[in-house]
Amino acid sequence: MSDKANGPMVRFEKVTKRYGALTVLDALDLEIAPNEKVSIIGPSGSGKTTVLRMLMTLERINDGVIHVDGEPLTHMQKGGGLVPADERHLRRVRGKIGMVFQHFNLFPHMSALKNCIEAPVNVLDLPRKEAEARAAELLDMVGLGDKKGHFPSQLSGGQQQRVAIARALAMRPKVMLFDEVTSALDPELVGEVLNVIRRLGTEHNLTMLMVTHQMGFAREFSDRVCFFYGGRICEQGTPDELFGSPRQERTKQFLSAVLEAG
């Protein structure tokens, strides 16, 4: 039990992911402490999205084990050893994780409020009244208290993404994953979404793992930044270390290229 209380919230242990002959992640080790905010940066194709998708169980891993909140996610205990997790085990552990996608993935046939109560009512078995009250609270928090009845097609990209954040929070996850959640937005809408994430960071007890191209935000918001290159963590450290005095040549190259691009 003490292990669960003090141990990492997420732990990748020698996790390997291959697509055919292509090794996308190579024996990745990564630990994230409870409540820690970690940003993942790196060039296109370096495996950033894959890390989040494996943790969300959207991809199977080929080797290694992922642990969440003190228990294996991808595997389960059986006969003294670890065997690949079955659907029931996955569903139990996965419930601790929520994810926000680049393209929102809201349910287009449901209003903002319905998007936020569908899973709480049908998966967590919350009474509808309670789920609605909580969803309304969350939509208020993301600044959409007046848009509860709107359908996704009636909302701007920034508003849709904020609904998606509220929808994920409605499942009361311990870990939140963000995959380039502002990349699909017009520049003037980026700020409102980042503000919501900022509030989450200070007002909620959440472990957050985000893939981002917003270097300014990563520097200001994260406790730690990981620079991915070729399916490995090439360098990691506090934002000041990584952005202020990067040690690896590749990190320097990447950062100067990104800064040049604006």
């Binding site: 969300m56 169980t57 959207l58 569903r91 996965r94 419930g95 994780i97 929520g98 994810m99 996608f101 393209h103 993935n105 809201l106 349910f107 287009p108 046939h109 449901m110 209003s111 569908e118 899973a119 049908n122 998966v123 709107h150 359908f151 097609s153 009636q154 929808r167 994920a168 499942m171």
Partner: protein, 241 residues
Amino acid sequence: MALRTLAVCAIVCFAAGLSVASFASFREFLPGLLQGALVTIEITIGGCVLAVLVAVPAALAKMYGPRPVRWLAVGYIEIFRGTSALVQLFWLFFVLPHFGILLEPLTVAILALGLNVGAYGAEVVRGAVSAVPRGQWEATVALNMPRTLALRRIILPQALVAMIPPWGNLFIELLKATALVSLITITDLAFKAQQMNQITFKTLQIFTIVLVFYLAISTVITAGMRALENWAARGLARGRQ
């Protein structure tokens, strides 16, 4: 769209008016043909309901079922798409009795046409379900929904909108295929017309009325499907004028 409905209605009214006005013998044929039309409508409705009832599970079984169930679904779809409706009709009517299964002609008609159209319908359902963006499935995983719940609440409602127009086509195909059932002793609209024609030789009158009847039924199907489509799209379409 409204224009087309209007045009169809106009043609129907015109033809109906023409029949009433210019054929004195209209009254003479109407009751008999109406009787035949009722049989045609009965088989059409029964066949359409059966088609939908088999198409949805067949499609889902083919897509998500465990292997033996998937094979069963594939077998059904391929057999009923790959052979003609006429042969299926004959097979159920003339071959099944050899195995001790004797069915009413009307039952055979509904079974054969329903299963035949259901096989095409299964592919329509499958296409519409696979056209739902992958991100929707991924969102249901991220919200920890079981697959059946995701399918029922998230995927199928979105697929429904896309599958309604092709279903409309299939229903009209089924209506037209009902003309085959006279070959298993059923007196449907087309057969009734032939019978009357052989007795009275009033070919023009009889077959004009029959034409109008078929057109009227298919117009009702088309209008019904359009209404259904609007209903199913009500959420999706909101805000997108």
